[in-house]
Amino acid sequence: MKPRNLILLTTLPTLFFLFFWLFYPFIYDIYFSLFYFRLTRPELTRFIGASNYVSILSDPDFWTAAGNTALFIVSCLVIEFFLGLLLALILSFDFKGIGVLRTLYILPILLPPISVGIIWRLMFFPGMSPINYILETLFGFKVDWMGGGIASYLAIILIDAWQWSPFIGLILLAGLLAMPPEPVEAARIDGADPIRVFFHITLPYLKPVILVALILRFLDLIKIFDPIYAIVTGGGSVMETLSVFIYKRGFKVLNIGYGAAVSVIFWIAAFVIANIAVRRFKEYLV
């Protein structure tokens, strides 16, 4: 077979498959977004042009959700980076049994986010929160984690950090372990103490790996949904991100047209950001 045909035969089906499931629905989003369309009242469906967009963009709740998403992304990235770096550093020590610890300490990564959310919901649940008990015993105060506002915001960051700091830790650890020993050794022979070695040699060396970890984390955080859902559902107070906003306005209320319009905005924003971000990986294409 000619290489050209082989390439077409192997790439086109994949692209088609992806487009069918993940792009074609977006076209539908655009279509629906131009209608007033409730699943429960199909007889009321009518073309309304850009009205859905107008009402979204003038809806303060939408802007709050967008702002919340941005805020979550920034706070989670900062906290997870530092925790992840700390984790990577201590796990890079070499002693007997470190292999087991390296596995155990990154365990949360592969747990389903929704299960993680449920486990933490227990940790935060009013009236039975062991965290509140510890806080009360040690510091004499309690927090209403699920009551909305700053506390809920903190709770969700904690959940995300718990699950994903190990992800950053895992990547940085891989970077640390792949680091050639010579630069550190050379710096030691030059007479540098461990702290200088860390800032002058190790950290600059890790820079590309850190960038990869943060970009991937960033792109995932845009979609943040599960932990918030876990905290919010069944009575928790509202702390909406864009994903939750679509879910609630579009789906739970079954206002498809409106939800589709939010989806279009969100999809385009995510696509542009993701496409720019992933192209930073160009150097890894070989």
Partner: protein, 274 residues
């Protein structure tokens, strides 16, 4: 100096250890507590009465077995689908340097980061029309699609590590390119292939948003959705049952995690970090 570092490291290990394992521990022992004990204040950190009752009962007072079955079907099928599309693409993108290769690869990768929430509404309508609502088959296709970028990128990185000379040499020995792929490359990337299969199995296993929207009948739900529904309604405070169910749900994932630990960084970074 050395001693100070060691002490600091030990302290960090302990703090991070508590932070990582306390929630898991507490959730785990909660599943052994009695109905009354879970409401105790102060909460108990070691169950006073130790009962396995709820570990058994969760199988019966909800269709947990059906959840399990749906999850298994959806995730296993999604692995097959994404490998079927992904392996050929990964191979040509690793072996041929064609003009639009970078665009193809980046387009594929971008799809991984699109928010599911933004396409879930049309997919709901589509699935309803296609009569795939409430079936694991429908979910399997979607999971296959969202995991396809991982398969392409990760397997591509494993294939690149196999020198093309091996295949060429095999072709010069007298075999076709297809045989060279099946006899040489495939056996050599086997560890990577297994790892990436288990990784996407795990990711499909725990997917929530699509499953929550696209399954509505009790018998059609997957584990994450089923369990999340324990939280509402009359079950809302039965944390022992919720936790038992949760742990049943994550147990296979812990086994997968242990199996692919060495490939995890590479798998989660699309083959970028080795």
């Amino acid at each position: 100096m050395v001693k100070k570092t060691t002490i600091l490291a030990v302290v960090a290990f302990i703090i991070l250890g508590i932070w990582t394992f306390f929630p898991l521990y507490y959730a785990f022992i909660t599943a052994f507590k009695s109905r009354i004990e879970i409401t105790y204040w102060p909460p108990t950190f070691i169950p006073k009465e130790f009962t396995v009752h709820y570990w058994i009962i969760v199988w019966f007072d909800r269709p947990t077995l059906a959840y399990y079955r749906n999850t298994v079907i959806a995730s296993v099928l999604s692995v097959i689908i994404s490998l079927a599309f992904g392996i050929p693409t990964a191979y040509t993108c690793a072996r041929f340097n064609f003009r639009n290769r970078a665009d193809v690869l980046f387009t594929i990768l971008t799809f991984r980061f699109l928010p599911p929430a933004a396409v879930v509404i049309p997919l709901y309508i589509f699935m309803r029309e296609a009569r795939l609502l409430d079936t694991p088959i429908g979910l399997a296709f979607i999971y296959g699609a969202i995991n396809l970028p991982i398969v392409v990128w990760v397997l591509r990185s494993y294939i690149i590590d196999i020198p093309p000379e091996l295949e060429e040499s095999y072709m010069i020995d007298g075999y076709s390119r297809f045989r060279a792929f099946t006899d040489i490359t495939l056996p050599l990337i086997k560890p990577g292939l297994i790892a990436v299969s288990l990784l996407i199995l795990a990711l499909s296993w725990g997917e929530f948003l699509f499953a929550a929207v696209l399954t509505t009948s009790p018998m059609g739900k997957t584990l994450p959705v089923g369990i999340s529904e324990y939280m509402g309604g009359e079950w809302g405070y039965e944390w022992n049952k919720i936790m038992a169910a949760t742990f049943y749900g994550i147990l296979p994932l812990i086994i997968i995690f242990l199996a692919i630990r060495k490939h995890l960084a590479r798998g989660l970074t699309f083959g970028i970090v080795r």
